[in-house]
Symmetry: C2
Subunit: 108 residues, 2 copies
Amino acid sequence: MTSYKLDAFQVVADPSRRHILQLLSKDSLTIGALAENFEMSRPAVSKHIKILNKAGFISIQDIGRERYCILKQDGFDQLQEWIDHFDGFWLSKLQKLEMVLENKANGK
Amino acid sequence: MTSYKLDAFQVVADPSRRHILQLLSKDSLTIGALAENFEMSRPAVSKHIKILNKAGFISIQDIGRERYCILKQDGFDQLQEWIDHFDGFWLSKLQKLEMVLENKANGK
DNA sequence: ATAATATGTAACTTTTAGGTTACGCAAATA
DNA sequence: TATTTGCGTAACCTAAAAGTTACATATTAT
């Protein structure tokens, strides 16, 4: 089952979290290693990680006292799924409606 | 030029705004018509529309005293662009790293 | 001309998200 | 065994986001 507790879009709305994901796309990193890339404190990063995990954007591997954060596809899939709903839209319905409205605006 | 003033992900993070976009994918609607689909007040919808417009998710056609909101692709493109950055990732790098870490975790 | 309608905006309130510091705990190290 | 390291969490603060009501304005209808 893949029902995550957080709204993927709300989770990825935060620029810091997007930055974290970018870093993780190049390397799996521990919390501390991630924190070195930010000005914010380590506990702040820790919170973001918890959120990213709950939303399915990362998985976590505990190795001793270290936590390796690993990019995970599920969160991204949630984003993509919603965006895909709009795909069929662009080329058919829209252009006709715009035409109609433009004509109406010009009093034709 | 397509440099919008708002972060597309932050804009689409709000569930009400996503709902607005869904409604607009079926029909171009005025502010008032949109507001009928929500419990919130019309001015609240009006604010969301302003934001969606600034971020390139909709365009607006003024017809007399009415404002028709029309779905627009630019905002969605911004979302897609970011997501696409991660596409090359999944099948190559990730799986190897996970293997390495799992072995390390098991002390192999 | 007057009334009704569709909307934008200002001022305000409330909630929440993101940050901090301080602390505790388990694992690694000396 | 004592110390350091890596991390989670609680308590707290602050700023911003999302909502409200009240009002102003322009267009349409009577």
